[in-house]
Structure formats: structure tokens, C-alpha cells
Symmetry: C2
Subunit: 175 residues, 2 copies
């Protein structure tokens, strides 16, 4: 079922990454690296107040999937490449999904003009930006002490600066 | 700048809320209430493994804005209605935004067939669902002890089950 509404690109992310296989898989595993978001002129007024937040959610359109073709509903996520284990796409953070909307937790370092300097880089250069939302602990942190159950992620090692290429070859059943 | 790609609706949220003004403003302020997501048949296979997670991100298309017309770049968020203070839309969690994509942190209570029972309700009945992503603490929790700076949210009270109607009238400068 399609939606009649269209998405609007409000800017783009500028990073040093040109290949999906060499791009860090998660901002949370690459928190030290810095990059810049360039917000297009017509949308800059919407940044007023963002500099007061430590972190924000960066919503992007993941326009260059690491495999061609329609996204499968069960797939081998990057972190399960060694096991070649498939799980449902909605139980993964795979960039290849029905609606390829990226969700990255970024640290806001500065907002000046239309430029947002941030830390936590997991995106290809020139990835289209759809939205920014401030991180609000009361809304975005599960209650209670300790981490909630993390499904299959709780069973795999997660190395800093992991990339798809470093995690093994992709799914051989894919074209 | 528009995107050539279209969004696909994968299901809908079923809640008891029919009016935006009476709908809780944030899942994190209404964590006890339960509701159901109904995933459409063609996408159910993608739920495999989701039940192993305590929490997930629910991405929705906020199809019924609380004010008509194009979204302003500076607006009075619900929590600043009393002060009638405007901030940039990208420094708010307002449902009225350039790309009205909702981001709700939900607690997964059960996944059965195409139904996801969850807790944490801040959506109108029949809101279109775009994506589900598992909550992974390593990716989604800012590092360090304590909460990061929360901008203007740090200066306002946030009551449980707050609704727009309970927070005062909307922006009188809006049509």
C-alpha cells in the first residue's frame, strides 16, 4: 500500500564514505568520528534551538543499498554475516528495508548557519536528510536500570568501527 | 527537493484515540497504556525475531496534523503552549514537520501472527506504520552517566499522559 504523500529532502550528510561495505554500520559503534550535515537554505530556520541539545536523532533516506533489488523480508544482517543467519528485517537495523529510513543517534557539536557538526558517523557521503529530532531522555530511554532485552544482538560481539566488509561476505543467496 | 522514492505502508496502529488534541503527546509519557499494531500480510515475515527485544522504535506517518496547512519551520510545541514560545521544528518532537515521520519508543509485549501488542501509546487510531526497528542500547543510548542536555525540554514540566488539549490552546498566529 503506497502513501500519496511524498518525502522532502531537507539537506545532506557530508562524510568521507563512498562505499557501503566500508562505511561503519552504526553511529553508536563509531562515536568519535565527526562529520557535517548541510541543511538546505529553505529549512535552516527550523534549526533554531537544536544547539541546546546534547544528542539528536538523524533520519535519513538510505538511497544506496548494499545489495540490488527489492529488500527481502528475512535477511542476513551485517552482524550475523559470519553465521549467515537470517532474521526478519524488522528485527534488524539493516539499511536495506521496505522503507529505507535511517535512524542515527548523533552527538550535536555545533550548529552554525545551515551546518550541523556532529559525532557518530554511519552514513555514506551525500546521504539525503529527512528530519532531525532532539534526543529527550524521558522519551527515548527505556525506564529502569540496565538494558532491555536486545534479541539476537545480545549474542554477537559488536566491535568499534565495524564495517560490513570487516564482518564477512554478504548473503550468497542474494543476486 | 523531492525524493523519487515512495513510502510503503506496512500496517497500522490500533488505538482508542480519534482526536489529535486528546492523544497523549509522547509514548514515554504514557508508558502504561497498551495498544496493537496490525502488520499487513505481505510484511509479516519481517517480524521474525522481534519478540526477543524488550523495546522497539515505531516509525509512523503522522497523517492527521493538529493544524491545517504546510508545517511552519518555527512553531509552538505542545509543551510550550502555556508560554506560547516558538522554536525551530527540528528542535521539537512536534508531529507537524516537513516530513511527518513519527518516532515512538514502544515496549514489545508480544508478537503473534501479524499483531504486535505493545505499551507506550501516543498515536491516533489507524496511523500508518512505516517501519519497526529493534531498540539496541549500544546504538540508541547516549554514552556516559546522566542525561545529555535536553534543550528547552529541561525547562518545562512534563506530566504523565499529557495531551495537547491539557497543555493549553494552540498557536493563535496559525490559521
Amino acid at each position: 500500500m503506497g502513501l500519496p504523500a511524498a518525502l522532502t529532502v531537507i539537506g545532506e550528510v557530508r562524510t568521507g564514505y563512498a562505499s557501503t561495505e566500508g562505511t561503519p554500520i552504526q553511529a553508536g559503534l563509531n562515536r568519535a568520528e565527526r562529520a557535517v550535515i548541510e541543511i538546505a537554505g529553505p529549512y535552516r530556520e527550523g534549526l533554531d534551538g537544536l544547539a541546546g541539545f546534547g544528542y539528536a536523532w538523524l533520519l535519513t533516506w538510505l538511497d544506496r543499498p548494499h545489495e540490488p533489488g527489492p529488500p527481502p523480508l528475512r535477511l542476513v544482517p551485517f552482524l550475523l554475516r559470519r553465521q549467515q543467519r537470517k532474521v526478519g528485517v524488522f528485527a534488524t537495523r539493516s539499511p536495506r528495508r521496505v522503507n529505507p529510513i535511517g535512524l542515527s543517534l548523533i552527538q550535536i557539536l555545533g550548529v552554525s548557519g545551515g551546518q550541523i557538526e556532529f559525532a557518530g558517523v554511519d552514513l555514506l557521503d551525500r546521504t539525503p536528510v529527512l528530519d532531525l529530532k532532539p534526543y529527550v531522555a524521558r522519551f527515548d530511554r527505556p525506564p529502569g536500570d540496565g538494558d532491555p532485552a536486545g534479541g539476537w544482538f545480545d549474542q554477537v560481539p559488536m566491535a568499534e568501527r565495524a564495517t560490513p566488509a570487516g564482518l564477512g561476505p554478504g548473503d550468497p543467496s542474494e543476486p
